[in-house]
């Protein structure tokens, strides 16, 4: 499912479209909205994706017909809700090709998943002088939890540099991996640059030295088919809302063997099997890590999003997204003064750019007036901005419901920016 950025703008195949995007768009009610009187062109999918009617209906159905607490009621509704919630866990297992449902922990999102691993695994198994390896293109949520852990246990954070295209320098990773390395945590797809990271290779290298690997899959799951057994990773984290599901729910996949060894992250209801004031026995996986009433509707909604994705032909989806990225890369490259940040060979869904004389915020405001929604700023990846020596970028991020025509609207809107700042 990898997409390669190419720039042959006269390629006649680019406008051909086997994938029926018009029909797909019908599934997403928000895409009919207008913004400032213009049709919404939603190109901020990296921040959050839109939701298909099936997901909205699943949430509605849960609250209208099934709402009750799970894992505790003997009554009918509770059984219905429990079954629906646990069915969603099964869908996630299948989606990731994990071995068992117990390896799927529902969390609030990618951020909580990473914090869970840092605080549970990290505080138990890392000591002073140990090293955690991240890359130079991580989201803040894959930096700060490790810095907090480092302060707590005296470990050190090491950073794999990236090259000017925004690709991980693998020789440097090999050099950083050593006896002190105790954990590697890298992104699967960069949220700021769109780089698809060769995570399988990273996992293999780390495992040669017995170092476990966490992959931040927040930006990968909306674009790539993920198979955790094939990748071989020890942990995989993602958010529901970036893959067409609800906000407030996400997933931590962990290999059962590691999860079994790890202490609970939070204490409370549902994560126990027996509580006395003398001693508490923890529940089995995955409940050991799910204290308190979870986001039941969110889990069910995420299950509906996975069903929706499973019904799509992913070869066609990938081809369509490839076409969008290639077309947009070529079209934007033609704009004078525009510089694309992030030119990796393998990219997915993201196109970041800057102008020397126009700040990203001004670009964002003017595009918004044309109905075009993009992200302008540091994308919660300030070290990436520092690496490229820019204060901020404008980020266009695609989903499979975007169209070539929308990219034409984007290009027209960028031309308006240049007119204002001429």
């Amino acid at each position: 499912m990898l997409m390669k950025a190419v720039t042959q703008k006269n390629d006649p195949t680019m406008r051909q479209n086997k994938f029926d995007v018009t029909r797909i768009r019908e599934d997403f009610p928000i895409l009919k909205e207008k913004v400032h009187g213009k049709p919404l062109v939603y190109l901020d999918n990296g921040a959050t994706s839109q939701k298909p009617q099936a997901v909205i209906d699943a949430l509605n159905h849960y609250y209208s017909a099934e709402n009750s607490n799970i894992h505790r009621g003997v009554h009918y509704l509770s059984e219905q809700a429990t079954a629906a919630y646990e069915a969603a866990r099964g869908k996630v297992r299948e989606f990731l090709n994990a071995r068992a449902d117990k390896e799927i922990i529902f969390v609030r999102g990618t951020t909580e998943a990473i914090n869970l691993v840092a605080q549970s695994y990290g505080r138990s198994f890392l000591n002073a002088g140990d090293e955690i390896i991240v890359s130079a293109m991580e989201h803040h949520s894959n930096i700060v939890p490790w810095q907090m852990l480092c302060e707590q246990v005296g470990a050190k954070l090491r950073v794999i540099p990236i090259n000017h295209d925004g690709e991980i320098v693998m020789e440097e990773f090999r050099r950083l991996l050593g006896d002190k390395s105790k954990l590697v945590s890298v992104t699967h797809v960069s949220n700021a640059l769109g780089t698809v990271v060769p995570v399988k290779e990273i996992v293999a290298l780390a495992h040669q030295r017995g170092v476990p690997v966490l992959l931040d899959g927040a930006q990968a799951v909306p674009h790539l088919k993920v198979d955790v057994q094939d990748l071989g990773c020890d942990f995989y984290a993602f958010s529901g809302h970036k893959m067409f599901g609800p906000t407030g729910v996400g997933v931590l996949y962990g290999r059962a063997e590691l999860l079994e060894k790890m202490p609970p992250y939070q204490g409370g209801g549902d994560m126990i099997s027996l509580v006395t004031f003398e001693k508490t026995h923890y529940n089995v996986l995955p409940y050991k890590f799910e204290a308190g009433t979870p986001h039941i509707a969110g889990g069910i909604g995420l299950g509906a999003a996975i069903d929706y994705l499973a019904a799509l032909d992913w070869h066609e989806v990938a081809a369509h997204e490839h076409r969008l990225l290639s077309y947009a890369t070529a079209a934007l490259s033609d704009i004078e003064g525009l510089r694309i940040i992030g030119t990796a060979k393998d990219k997915a869904g993201v196109l970041s750019f800057v102008f020397d004389h126009v700040h990203a915020h001004d670009v964002g405001t003017i595009l918004d007036q044309e109905g075009v929604a993009v992200r302008a700023g540091h994308h919660c990846a300030m070290p990436v901005m520092q690496r490229f020596g820019v204060p901020a970028t404008t980020r266009v991020s695609f989903a499979f419901y975007n169209t070539i025509e929308e990219i034409d609207v984007l290009v027209g809107a960028i031309r308006r920016v240049l007119k204002v700042f001429s």
Partner: protein, 150 residues
């Protein structure tokens, strides 16, 4: 005039292109940093304050057209003003940017700076325009912590 044209008026674009007093000040006796954590915009304001009067003022930093133009116009307006007048202008500008100042009072309350009033139609950009003002406010109060727009 459209809301967008009102935001990016000629004067604002000119201040963005050639910001006034955009320099470090070697003999400043007050200095404050301002920072917008939301977008990473960063500004440093330098002051030379003598007998309660702003004798010289300058700024440096990076940000969007609105934040740069606002900072530039601010330095031009504040030069020569005493602390009380600067403080009053800070309050008035703040009210204008948040849309809390009546239109017919703008001339008397903020003078030329009313050109920035279009910002209040763009809630996401209010902090861009107010960053330099929060920073000069901190510099006048002699605060050592960086000012933020939060």
């Amino acid at each position: 005039m459209s809301e967008l044209d009102e935001l990016y008026q000629e004067v604002i674009l000119d201040h963005n292109k050639s910001p006034r007093n955009f320099r470090e000040m070697a003999n400043a006796n007050r200095k404050a940093e301002g920072y917008n954590p939301l977008c990473g915009d960063h500004v440093t304001v330098f002051l030379r304050l003598e007998d309660g009067v702003i004798r010289d003022i300058s700024f440096q930093g990076s940000g969007c057209a609105i934040s740069k133009a606002s900072a530039s116009m601010m330095t031009a307006e504040l030069k020569g003003k005493d602390e009380a007048a600067a403080q009053a202008l800070f309050e008035n500008v703040h009210q204008m940017l948040t849309g809390d100042a009546a239109d017919d009072q703008l001339d008397s309350r903020v003078g030329k700076l009313r050109i920035l009033s279009g910002v209040c139609k763009f809630p996401a950009r209010v902090k861009c325009a107010s960053l330099a003002w929060h920073t000069v406010h901190a510099a006048l109060k002699g605060e050592s912590q960086p000012a933020t727009t939060e």
